[in-house]
């Protein structure tokens, strides 16, 4: 009997020991392959590797390396966002007023706000790193920079948005507060950027780091200030539902834009950085947009580098940039380019500029015109590369496959990469430019002109500097502007745009053509009524390509003047774009969100 008694005692004992241990470490299990948040936030490096993640976020800095085969980086953005100057195979639904009111999502979903949370999470924790501020200032500056980009995107989409500069939890009152009026949103962005500029290191003449610099933050601040300044000015002048009633009509933002742009220009003068690249070089303008490495550039302030080392690191622009990427430059953009004398193609309604050779063929279109036109569209002149070193453009790919063909005959040359090796490997590494100095010059000129304080000296160091760079002979003389019968913006009424501003806007459009600025520009100038409503995009003259009509696919059509009419088969834009100027400037807030936080009301105008 004895042996088992011992066993029983032993087992009972083991049982008791086991149970006493109920709350011991056995039940304490933490993540084994993740970092517990409580153990993070110790060193500046922790901040650095946290912020690094922001650089990889599409919502902040689009990477354009998706598997889509119809994107040439930022150079096709104007077509995808919708604009009058660059169009896709299908017409843009938003521009045609076909946006629908969503119940949720629609750019206002949880996943659309999570980046703000991630940035604010950083802001709420970085102080746990116990070192002197100067060692971490740069990362705080980067966080503020990214928060500004984030809010600028939201501002453009929704106008007034709620503001959070701290980390929210489900009990935060901010969740149920009103939207911040749009001008106050921009004031807040300006405040963030002021600090970012203070904290960020200047690149100056130093080496490129790939990180955000003081100069980049200045360029962003100028861009946003001009955006809001002109938005408020023109929406107020045109009395649209999107005007800002409690502000000063955008004046202080225009002033800010001018001051900030000026301070960059001052840095340029002192340090030689930033500066324009490729001055006076043959194809210098075109070459600005097909470089693989901008680390030595003085003009490109902030850009994304690509590499073939990994799938996510290269882009696919080269796949289709030689076929036209399924987009086409419109006749309107082409017509905007001045002749070499600095005058428009028509001097009066029926009076052609003698330099203008007409539209019958691509070579005539570009002859005697602003050299940037020849470097923006493909021309069969034996000098436009399809592939370097000796394959040249012959004719636009108007009959190529639906997704990739050039729909207007004016095929994009700006941004086209002629590197055959990259094409064969299907791996493109052309850098993506986010900020370049030319934009700053244009911001300065526009802001000063809007404020009415612009001088010929200002024009010379901005507009005319850009013309000189490309070898354009005609300069802008503010007191000697020829009236263009085809100016795009109204010259009468309270929102009349002065001849000087017409030309400054033209210069901006030409210099920044197809770089993704156009829709924002139209919206901030409140110019949809002039530029979009009833507008039908047109292309080049179809007759210049000696093909029989029968051999063309049925959907390649021309209008009565012989210009390609890319959307002739769509009855829904038969009368041109049906943009609703009382509604479509801003997206609606999804209805569920208005239910969850009634303080977000009123809904955006027209919805």
């Amino acid at each position: 009997m004895k042996p088992y008694k011992y066993l029983v005692i032993a087992i009972t004992g083991a049982l008791l020991v086991g149970l006493n241990g109920c709350n011991d470490e056995f039940l304490e299990r933490g993540p084994l392959s993740k970092i517990n948040d409580a153990l993070f936030w110790k060193t500046p490096n922790d901040l650095s590797i946290y912020i690094n993640n922001l650089y990889s976020k599409e919502g902040l800095l689009p990477s354009y390396n998706s598997s889509r085969y119809d994107v040439i980086g930022p150079y096709t953005d104007d077509a995808f966002n919708g604009s009058d100057l660059l169009v896709q195979v299908d017409y843009n639904k938003r521009i045609n007023g076909e946006t629908t009111l969503p119940t949720s999502g629609g750019g206002w979903g949880t996943s659309d706000w999570d980046l703000l949370r991630n940035i604010n999470y950083f802001m709420a924790h970085y102080q746990q790193v116990d070192v002197e501020f100067s060692k971490i200032a740069q990362y705080v500056g980067e966080a503020l920079f990214f928060r500004s980009i984030f809010y600028f995107t939201k501002l453009k989409r929704f106008g007034s948005v709620p503001w959070a500069s701290s980390l929210l939890d489900p009990n935060s009152v901010e969740l149920f507060e009103n939207r911040l009026p749009r001008n106050e949103v921009v004031d807040s962005i300006m405040f963030d950027l002021d600090r970012a500029i203070e904290y960020l290191p200047a690149q100056g003449s130093g080496t490129w780091t790939g990180r955000v610099t003081k100069e980049t933050a200045l360029a962003l601040q100028a861009r946003i200030a001009l955006y809001e300044g002109t938005w408020e000015k023109y929406h107020n002048l045109k009395n649209t539902p999107f005007q800002v009633r409690n502000g000063d009509g955008g004046i202080h933002f225009l002033e800010k834009a001018a001051v900030i742009a000026d301070s960059l220009m001052l840095m340029a003068a002192v340090n030689g950085y930033p500066a324009l690249d490729n001055i006076g070089q043959v194809d210098g303008y075109w070459n600005l947009f097909n470089q693989k490495d901008y680390s030595g550039s003085k003009e490109v302030l902030f850009w994304r580098k690509y590499s073939t080392a990994a799938d996510q690191l290269f882009n696919r622009w080269i796949n289709i940039s030689y076929t036209g990427a399924g987009v086409g430059i419109t006749k309107r953009l082409v017509d905007l380019y001045l002749c070499m004398d600095g005058n428009p193609i028509y001097i009066a309604p029926d009076d052609k500029n003698p330099l203008y050779q007409g539209d019958d063929s691509l070579p005539t279109v570009v002859s005697n015109r602003d050299p940037r036109l020849n470097q923006t569209i493909c021309v069969p002149d034996g000098k436009h590369y399809v592939w370097k070193p000796n394959t040249y453009f012959v004719k636009p790919m108007i009959t190529a496959e639906l997704a990739t063909r050039c729909v207007t005959g004016y095929q994009l040359y700006k941004g086209h990469s002629a590197d055959r090796t990259e094409y064969d490997n299907r791996k493109g590494t052309n850098g993506c430019i986010y900020f370049r100095y030319a934009e700053v010059l244009l911001i300065y000129a526009e802001a000063k002109a809007e404020l009415g304080t612009i001088t010929q000296g200002d024009i010379n160091k901005t507009i005319n500097a850009l013309r000189e760079r490309v070898g354009m002979t005609g300069m802008l003389d503010k007191d000697n502007i020829i009236t263009d019968p085809n100016w795009l913006f109204t010259t009468t009424g309270p929102a009349a745009v002065s001849p000087l501003l017409q030309e400054i806007r033209r210069e901006r459009t030409v210099e920044l053509a197809c770089e993704g600025f156009r829709l924002d520009d139209i919206f901030r100038w409140a110019a949809s009524d002039e530029l979009l409503v009833g507008y039908k995009p047109k292309g080049a003259k179809l007759s210049q390509w000696p093909v029989t009509q029968a051999s063309l696919p049925e959907y390649i059509l021309e209008d009565q003047d012989g210009y390609m009419d890319p959307y002739a088969q769509y009855p829904s834009i038969g009368n041109g774009y049906q943009f609703n100027i009382k509604r479509d400037y801003l997206y609606p807030i999804p209805t569920n969100e208005l239910t969850l936080n009634p303080a977000l009301r009123p809904q955006n105008p027209g919805w």
């Binding site: 935060s172 490129w208 239910t595 969850l596």
Partner: protein, 1170 residues
């Protein structure tokens, strides 16, 4: 009522046998005025001698006194039976008592012959302790442990052989001297023991909702997975094919070789915050060890299966078993039984079923052009291609495609002219599979063993992919009595699954059904040069490399059982259950031949690459429990307490690189690519619990059971970690009451049961729900897209979403009411259970939060749900002469409702445009489908003008051929209203996707060696939305052909869509057309909203199995020294009744339908025992 009398005789058989012979052991006992029974018990407890007798023969209440000092066993027995007319026999430790009829003490009678005999049961196992009597005189014996007996009798005598639970036999001796007697089981009388949590219980004494299944039911099914065989056999044990839902491991879905099954007990167990219902799996307990894998067990090793459905029965497993328990008991050897070897095989021929039929090319191309035209876009097939298609179809053109005029390519897609049905091409007409199993069992007096091995070789259905699944099983169960109080056991099981299929990376990692559906029929199979075309996917399937997964499953259990005294058991065991899966993914560069004869690598296949994954899942389980049972007069008690701890440890490691030196040496070590990557994931869950159970019954008439468990888990923070889960169940057996006597002839058994219990679940909590965690990314991680000066830099993942440290257990409470009845001498059995399972603290989102929060609201225990259901089991068994037949019907049902959810405005769905998710609200029934009511298709402009304004559903105007939605709220326009329950606009609940009234019908019959069985399984009521609730491409194009958003790239057309509105039809044809006008643009959405017209009726009945077998008669078996030889033929999935659209299998109706097809199987095989 013979069997009832038998029942009242209590036969005590104690089978404690020892290998130490204790003959000559001396007995010392001093008992004063005790009953015979007590004296026997004392002898048993002190010296382990057991008495075997029939109660009617012995007066055990007689009071005696014993005074024995070093007495022999004989002396002791003689004293105990003093004054009673009894004889006795002592065999080992068994003392059998017999009533003396004639002269006592006669040992030898002259003139008699000595005969030897063996008593066996049907399966050839010896029966120990069977009574062998000579009819009419007092001479008897019992069989020994090998079933043998020896008796002196005369030739004229008749032997009577009887044993409890078996039908008695009489045998004329004549001149035989060696007898072999097989007793037939008297199934009705056999008191079935049912394995329950941490113990066994007489079936009759069960108080909870417990179903049992004999392993024989699943024998010889021509399927590779045991779970499949359980489908429809137990009420509310819901088994359905694994669905991949558009992503994930498609090669393990549906009817894929070796595919696992989804298993659930009693329906919805919870819900996720995206509007999805959860039907989580029950705990699998194999031989008492929790955490087993039902998908890898060898069906032929299974002895029986028990399903614990109600909370009170499963409460003993606490939080490990929130959703029921399946206890699988494997075969074991029996002590003292001779070795038995069984061999089974099964040879199977499979054909895919429910494959959709593709449209022929011309119809297809015309449809595509028509839909483009409807969307005002250019036709995708040019006139010249159409011409070639016509030519190819009428035979004037022989080649499926042409060379591209401008480039060195073959025309494909919209420019080629073939006429191919890609499902026909890529799925075999027939594939072959086989199963083999060997089981060996037996035992000595103290040690028993079972060894089973199995081999499954299942060939897949791909014509070119050569996919297969192989499984190897081995199982050993050993048990040995080291002494009268100590038993040790060892159980080991191992299985290896070997799954091999073509590398889907060569076709963009897509679901193969999905991409085959996108192969246009005009796509050539062969290029004019005779090579397979690139777009046929044949090169990719055949040559694109393989994915091989080897899954090893090992369970090792060591066990010690101590019996300090009669009725008291202490059991301790430790188990390691491990799953070790290694996956090798080899992507080969695939070349196709261009018109010029040059080879070109298929996109995405160059460079070649290799990836290895290793996943280790281990469970370390310790169980310690002790039970004590005792009967005092008519009161029976049993008490169990125990302790359990479990550590679950998962480790996943992956490494990959590209540019293999050679495709013949598939190793990471031979790669020279620069994309080497490695990652791991390590997660653990620790659980500890204490449990207990008390059973009490009075005369087996009034029964009550208490269960409880105190459980803690590492998933929750310290303060909210532990919780106690109680359960109580009770039963009353009126048929044992005296007042029932008059009814007994008709209703021979009646029991009513009630139980209530709680169980815990970690719910949606995950591993570490209260840690905001970050992780690092290597500078080369795929999400790291930025290049700084000097290259990519490391980064951390942003913190996981908001956490609530107070998140705790979900508690489910189940009330169960049931009854069991037997009628007409057990010919008819009925079992019924009704239950109400509710969770009042389910984890829901804090409440719908403004999206501005930037994170999903944390889960808190704030929602509630309820599931109601029933199970009914009706069995009928009857025998007409030699013809036995039986019918068993299982019917079950469940439905669930949200009883509390943080959605005060009762929004029904989120998102109205392209993708939408259902939203939970109080009162929402699970599976509920909201939709519009369809009037029909507009046949004329006047109809459109007169109808309610449809235009709010789409920016595009309505035209003839579009769907006419009904204006339910009468406001003259079709709207979503407020998209809430109270203001639903013109939508209403049009159906429900919950499977209602699931049934299984088993018909069995046997006649003189022949046996037949048929098993039908189905669902009585179910809807399936023509549009899956979420996602653009899901489900929709298996019903519609064209996905919701009208993307032509995703479109595919089946023969079924020929029945559609078309401008080329006559008005009469259009009036009858089923499908509306379709568009290759998002205008298509306007006709494809969920609506009554296209709602699918997914009810079905399917003949799952038919089996016909023949057993060789015993006379023949004897000659060839076999115990059993059975041949059978067998068919799976013979036929289906359903109203579902023919492009989808009704068993796939919850998914997008893009699953590996199920198969019809024709099979034959044999069962052999020797």
């Amino acid at each position: 009522m013979n069997h009832l009398k038998i029942k009242t005789k209590l036969l005590v058989v104690c089978l404690l046998l020892f290998h130490i012979t204790l003959y000559g052991q001396s007995v010392t006992l001093n008992l004063n005025r005790v009953s015979v029974k007590e004296a026997m018990e004392t002898l048993k407890s002190k010296y382990a001698y057991s008495f075997v007798f029939e109660v009617s023969d012995v007066n055990i209440e007689k009071i005696i006194s014993l005074t024995l000092q070093n007495a022999t066993v004989d002396e002791t027995v003689q004293q105990i039976i003093q004054g009673q007319a009894l004889s006795y026999t002592i065999r080992g430790k068994n003392i059998s008592l017999r009533k003396l009829i004639s002269t006592p003490g006669v040992k030898y009678i002259y003139g008699l012959i000595k005969i030897k005999g063996t008593v066996l049961d049907k399966s050839g196992e010896p029966i120990i302790g069977a009574s062998v009597k000579v009819k009419g005189i007092n001479r008897a014996t019992i069989t020994d442990v090998t079933g043998h007996f020896v008796l002196q009798i005369s030739e004229k005598d008749i032997l009577q052989i009887s044993y409890i639970g078996y039908i008695s036999q009489e045998i004329q001796i004549e001149n035989q001297t060696e007898l072999r007697i097989t007793l037939q089981e008297n199934a009705q009388v056999l008191k079935e023991m049912v394995v329950i949590g941490y113990g066994v219980q007489k079936k009759e004494n069960l108080t909870g909702a417990v179903s049992t299944l004999d392993g024989k039911i699943i024998e010889n099914r021509s399927i590779s997975n045991m779970a499949q065989a359980l489908q429809g056999t137990v009420g509310n044990l819901n088994i359905s094919p694994n669905s991949s839902n558009g992503s994930g491991d498609w090669d393990s879905s549906g009817g894929a070789p070796g595919a696992a099954q989804q298993i659930n007990v009693r329906g919805h167990t919870g819900f996720d915050t995206n509007g999805g219902a959860l039907s989580q799996s029950p705990l699998i307990v194999i031989d008492g060890i929790q955490g087993g894998d039902i998908n890898n067990i060898n069906m032929n090793d299974v002895e029986s299966i028990t399903v614990l459905k109600d909370a009170a029965s499963a409460a003993i497993y606490g939080s490990s078993a929130p959703f029921g328990v399946i206890l699988i008991n494997t075969k074991k050897g029996d002590l003292g039984k001779k070795n038995t070897i069984t061999y089974n095989d099964n040879f199977m021929f499979s054909q895919p079923i429910s494959l959709p039929k593709m449209m022929h090319s011309l119809d297809y191309a015309m449809a595509f052009n028509q839909f483009s035209s409807n969307a005002s876009t250019a036709g995708l097939y040019s006139a010249s291609t159409l011409e070639r298609i016509v030519g190819y179809m009428n035979g004037t053109i022989k080649e499926e495609t042409l060379k591209d005029a401008n480039t060195d390519n073959w025309l494909s897609g919209f420019s080629s002219n073939a006429d191919n049905d890609w499902f026909d091409i890529h799925f075999k007409d027939i594939s072959f599979s086989q199963l083999h199993n060997i089981g060996i069992s037996g035992g000595t007096k103290t040690t028993s063993y079972y060894v089973g091995t199995g081999y499954t070789d299942q060939e897949g259905m791909y014509t070119y992919g050569n996919d297969y699944f192989k499984r190897y099983n081995a199982r050993t169960t050993l048990r040995s009595d080291l002494s009268s109080w100590l038993t040790i056991g060892f159980r080991g099981a191992f299985s290896r699954g070997d799954k091999d299929n073509p590398n889907s990376a060569t076709f963009s990692n897509a679901n193969i059904i999905h991409i085959l559906a996108q192969r246009r029929p005009t796509q050539p199979l062969f290029n004019p040069d005779g090579n397979y075309s690139n777009g046929s996917y044949v090169p990719a399937f055949r040559d694109g490399g393989r994915v091989n997964t080897i899954t090893d499953n090992a369970t090792l259990t060591g066990e010690v059982i101590i019996k300090p005294m009669e009725g008291w058991n202490i059991t301790g065991n430790y188990s390691l259950t491990g799953t070790y899966a290694s996956n090798l993914n080899h992507l080969k560069t695939v070349y196709h031949v261009l018109p010029s004869g040059k080879l070109a690598a298929l996109t995405g296949t160059s460079p070649n690459s290799i990836s290895r994954k290793f996943n280790k899942d281990e469970r370390h389980v310790i169980n310690l429990f002790t039970s004590y049972e005792k009967s005092i007069d008519k009161h029976y008690f049993k008490v169990l307490i125990g302790y359990m701890q479990e550590l679950y440890d998962n480790l996943y490691v992956q490494a990959s690189n590209n540019e293999l030196y050679s495709d013949d040496i598939i190793s990471l070590a031979t790669t020279y690519g620069t994309k080497a990557a490695a990652t791991d994931l390590n997660e653990q869950i620790a659980t500890r619990g204490m449990f207990g159970r008390i059973n009490y019954n009075y005369k087996e008439k009034y029964l009550i059971e208490f269960n409880g468990r105190y459980d803690g888990t590492s998933c929750f923070s310290k303060d909210v970690r532990f919780k106690f889960y109680p359960g109580v169940s009770t039963a009353w057996v009126p048929s044992k009451e005296s007042f029932w006597e008059p009814l007994l002839a008709d209703v021979n058994f009646f029991k009513i049961r009630a139980s209530y219990g709680s169980q815990g679940s970690a719910g949606s909590a995950g591993y570490y729900p209260f840690y905001p965690a970050l992780r690092t990314y290597a500078s080369t991680a795929a999400s790291n897209t930025w290049i700084f000066n000097g290259g990519q830099s490391p980064m951390v993942q942003f913190p996981s979403s908001i956490v609530d440290p107070n998140l705790t257990w979900v508690t489910t409470n189940t009330l169960d009411l049931g009854a069991d009845l037997s009628f007409l001498s057990n010919k008819l059995d009925i079992g019924f259970d009704w239950y109400n399972r509710s969770a009042s603290d389910y984890q829901g989102p804090a409440e719908a939060m403004p999206a501005f929060l930037g994170a999903s609201a944390p889960l808190v225990n704030n929602a509630a749900m309820r599931t109601l259901g029933f199970e009914l089991n009706v069995g009928w068994r009857h025998k007409i002469n030699d013809f036995h037949y039986g019918v068993n019907v299982v019917l079950s049902d469940y439905s669930s409702t949200i009883t509390k959810y943080p959605n005060p405005t009762k929004i029904t769905i989120t998102g109205l445009g392209t993708v939408y998710d259902p939203m939970w609200y109080e009162g929402r029934n699970f599976g509920e489908i909201w939709g519009f009511e369809t009037v029909g298709l507009f046949q004329s402009q006047e109809e459109i003008d007169q109808a309610a304004d449809q235009s709010l559903l789409s920016a595009k105007p309505w035209t003839v051929g579009d769907v006419h939605y009904a204006d339910l709220d009468g406001d003259g326009k079709i709207t979503w209203g407020g998209n809430t329950v109270d203001n639903p606009g013109d939508r209403k609940i049009i159906g429900n996707s919950t499977p209602r009234y699931s049934f299984g019908v088993t018909l069995t019959a046997d006649y003189k060696g022949f046996d037949f069985s048929m098993f039908i399984q189905g669902v009585g009521k179910r809807n399936s939305p023509a549009n899956h609730n979420t996602g653009e491409y899901r489900f929709a194009n298996f019903v519609w052909g064209v996905p919701r958003q009208g993307s032509y790239a995703q479109a595919t057309m089946w023969e079924a869509q020929q029945d559609r509105w078309s401008q080329f039809n006559t008005p009469e044809e259009n009036a009858k057309a089923f499908f509306p006008k379709m568009y290759f643009s998002d205008e298509n959405m306007k006709n494809t909203y969920e609506q009554t017209r296209y709602l699918q009726n997914a009810a079905y009945a399917r003949i799952k199995n038919i089996q016909i077998g023949y057993n060789l008669p015993a006379s023949v078996l004897k000659k060839i020294s076999l115990q059993k030889f059975r041949l059978f033929v067998n068919a799976e999935n013979m036929g289906t009744w359903t109203k579902m659209i023919n492009t989808l299998d009704p068993e796939f109706s919850t998914s997008d339908g893009k699953l590996y097809p199920l198969q019809r199987v024709w099979a034959f095989g044999m069962n052999l025992t020797f």
